[in-house]
C-alpha cells in the first residue's frame, strides 16, 4: 500500500513540471483560440467567439491556407532530405576505428550549434556579393552565376530545406550509425560469400534491418520540421512573397505583428492537432497494437 503511494509521490515533481510547462500553456492556448484577444484593444482576452478564429483561418484567410501548403512542402523535403543525408553519412562512417570515432564526435557539432547562429550565417554565406556558398557555387556551376539564392520561391525553399538538413543530418546519422553497427556482421558476410553485391546487400539486408531506426528518425524529424521557425525568420522572413511562410512563422506574425493573440493561438492549436494526428499515425504504423506487449 505504502509502495503504491510512494510511486505517485516520486512521479509528482515530473508531473508538476510537465503540467506547468506543457499542459497548462497548451490548455490556455486552446482556450484563447476560442476568444477574441487583440492586444491593440486589451491586454487580456475579451470575448468568447467560439469557432470564429478557426473559421477565419480555413475560410477567410488565404495566407493561412498558403502556410499549410508551405509547411507540407517543407516537412516533406526536410524530413526526407535529412534522413537520406543522415543515412549517407552513416553508411560512410559506420566502421570501427579511431578515425571514425573522431569523425562521429565532430558530427554532433552542427546539431549543437544554435539555429539562430546558423540562420544568420547561412544568410551571409548565400549573399550574392560576398557569400562563400555563392562564390563556390558560381565557380562550380557558372550557369548559376547570377542566381539570387533567397530571391526566388524555389531557391528560397530549397535553401531552407538544405539549411535544416545541414543541422539535422549529422545528428540523425549518429542514430543510424548505432543501428548499422548493431546489424549482425555474419549476415553480411554470408551474403558476400554468396556473391551478393554491396548494392544488393544494402537493399536486402541492411535496409530492412535498419528500418525501425529509420522510421523513428523520420518520425522525430517530421515532428521537428512541423515546428520550423528559426530559419524562416532569419533566412527569408517568409518570402519571397509568402512562399516560405510556415505555420509557426505565420502564427508568430499574427501574434506579434497583427497583435491578434486569439487568432495566433488558433493557428498554433491547428498545428498542435496536426502534430498529434501525424504522430499517432506514425506510431500506429511503427508499433502495431499488441506488438509492444
Amino acid at each position: 500500500m505504502r509502495d503504491r503511494h510512494l510511486k505517485y509521490l516520486l512521479m509528482m515533481p515530473a508531473l508538476l513540471l510537465v503540467t506547468a510547462t506543457v499542459i497548462y500553456p497548451l490548455g490556455y492556448a486552446g482556450i484563447i483560440s476560442f476568444m477574441d484577444w487583440r492586444l491593440s484593444r486589451s491586454r487580456v482576452p475579451t470575448d468568447f467567439v467560439f469557432l470564429d478564429n478557426f473559421w477565419r483561418a480555413f475560410f477567410d484567410d488565404p495566407s493561412f491556407l498558403n502556410s499549410l501548403t508551405v509547411t507540407a512542402t517543407f516537412v516533406t523535403g526536410s524530413a526526407l532530405g535529412a534522413v537520406v543525408f543522415g543515412l549517407l553519412i552513416a553508411l560512410l562512417l559506420a566502421r570501427r576505428g579511431r578515425g571514425y570515432s573522431i569523425a562521429r564526435t565532430v558530427l554532433v557539432l552542427p546539431f549543437a550549434m544554435s539555429p539562430a547562429l546558423q540562420g544568420t550565417s547561412f544568410r551571409f554565406f548565400l549573399n550574392p556579393e560576398f557569400g562563400i556558398f555563392d562564390a563556390v557555387l558560381d565557380a562550380l556551376f557558372p550557369f548559376l552565376a547570377h542566381v539570387d539564392w533567397l530571391g526566388s520561391s524555389g531557391w528560397a525553399m530549397t535553401w531552407l530545406i538544405l539549411t535544416d538538413m545541414w543541422h539535422w543530418g549529422p545528428f540523425l546519422s549518429l542514430m543510424l550509425i548505432g543501428g548499422l553497427l548493431s546489424i549482425p556482421s555474419d549476415t553480411l558476410e554470408a551474403s558476400r560469400v554468396d556473391g551478393a553485391s554491396a548494392w544488393t546487400s544494402f537493399w536486402t539486408i541492411v535496409l530492412p534491418q535498419l528500418m525501425p531506426v529509420l522510421a523513428i528518425a523520420f518520425v522525430l524529424k517530421t515532428i521537428f520540421s512541423f515546428k520550423m521557425f528559426d530559419y524562416v525568420y532569419l533566412l527569408t522572413g517568409g518570402g519571397p512573397g509568402e512562399s516560405t511562410s510556415t505555420m509557426t512563422y505565420y502564427a508568430f506574425r499574427m501574434g506579434f505583428t497583427a497583435y491578434d493573440m486569439g487568432y495566433a493561438s488558433a493557428i498554433a492549436f491547428v498545428l498542435a492537432l496536426l502534430l498529434v494526428g501525424v504522430s499517432a499515425v506514425y506510431f500506429r504504423l511503427l508499433f502495431p497494437r499488441g506488438e509492444a506487449g
Binding site: D148, G151, G238, D260
Partner: protein, 440 residues
Amino acid sequence: MRTTRRTLMGTLLTGAVAAGLACGATLANAADALPYGLKAGKPYAGTKLTYLAPVAGQYEGHEARLKEFTDLTGIEVEFEFIPFRNLLEKILAIKVAGDADPDLINYKDDWGPGLKDLFVPIDEMMAEDKVTLDRYYPAHQLGVTYGGMIYGLPLRGHAQLMFYRKDLLEKHGLPVPKTWDELAEVAKVIKDKEGIGIGMYYSPKAAQNVAVWMNILWSNGGELFQDGKVTFNSPEAVEALKYYVALENDLKVNSEGAKSFEQYDGSLSMGAGQSAFFMGWWWHYGSRILGKNTKLTPEQVGFAPLPAFKGDKSTTFAMSMPTAINANSDKQGAAWEFLKWVSNPDLEKRNVIEKEKRNVIVALHKKNMMDEEVNAANQGLQMAAAGSLESSRIFPQLAVWPEVMQVLANAISDAVSNGADPKEALDAAAEQAQKLVDRG
C-alpha cells in the same frame, strides 16, 4: 486716517523690506532653478528608474552621460538594451504581463496606435513644464500623437536620403539624379562602366520595401488610404509598383541580390563598394556606409533628397522612435523628469558632435539640424535631412498598420520575385488589408 510722517516712513520701510525679501527669494530660486525644466529640490531623489531602449549609439551616448542627470535630480536610471528586431516582442510581453518595469519604453512610432494603452499621455506634464513639440519637424510631431493625445517624446528619428558615389558620378561626368528616371539612367551608365548598381532591396523581411514603394507612390499622387478605405491598389499605386519592379527586372540597374536584400543589405553593399547608390534611413551613413569596416571615405559619398517620380519634388517617408512612460509604472513623476532631460536639445547636440567614442548622426531638434557645428561634424548631413523632413510623411496611424504593411511587403516581393502581376498583387493585398482595417 491721517498719514503722519512716522507712519509713512514705517510703510516705506516695510515695503522695502518686503520687496527685498521677495527679490532675494526670486534670486535664490533662480540660483536653484534647474535646466531643461527639471524640478528643483530633487523631489524624486533616490528613485531608481529602468529604461528599455534598442541597441544604438545614440542611447549609449545618453547612458554615458547619466551621471549629469543623477547629479541634478538624485534619480538613478538603468538602461536595458535590446536588439531592435526583438523590441516589439519585448514590449508586447510587458503589455500582456502588465509589468511596471521598465518605467520608460522606447518604441517605433507606427507601433504606437496598437500599444498606446501601455503608455501615459503626457500632455498635462508637458503643459505644466512648458515643453512643446514645436522643436521637432511635423513628421516627428505626428509620430507621437494619437487621437489628439501625446504619448511620448521622439528620441530617435530618421529621414530618408539617397546616398551616392560622388567619385563615380564625377569620374563619368554624371549629374546627381533628381527623378527616378534620371536615377535609372545614371545607374545604368555606372553599372555598365563600373559593374555596380543601386543597392536596392525588395525582401518582405522587416517590410522595408514598402517604404521605398511608398515614396514613389506619394510622388505619383497616390495614397494608401482615403476615408477609411484602402486605396493602395489605385492606378497611381500600380504604376508606382510597376516602376519599382522594373528597376530590377527590366531596367536591371540594381546590384546583385536586390530581391532578397533588406535595407541593411543595401547599405552594407554600398559600404563594401558593391553599390553606387543606396536609398534609406540616414543612420546607415554613419555606421554601414562609412563605418569602421567599410571601404569608403566621406569624400567618396554624397547624399541628396530621394528622387521625385513625377514633378520635381519628392515626398519622403520619415519615422521616429519616441520614448514613453509605462502606464503601469508607479514612478511616473521621476520618469517624466528623465524624459525632459534625455530629450533636451543640448544633450542631443553633444551626442552628435562628440565623435571620439561613437559616431552618432541622429538629431531631431530643428535647431540642431540647422546648427553649423553639428553639420560641420557630420559633413552637412543634418541640413540635407532637414530638407527631406520638411515635406516628409509618416506611416498611417492605425493599430492594424504593422500587419497591413506586412501584407503589402509580401505583395511587392511577390511582384518582383515571383512574377506576380502588380495590379493583381495589389488588388489581393488591398482586399486582405481592408478586412484587417474593418476588423480593427
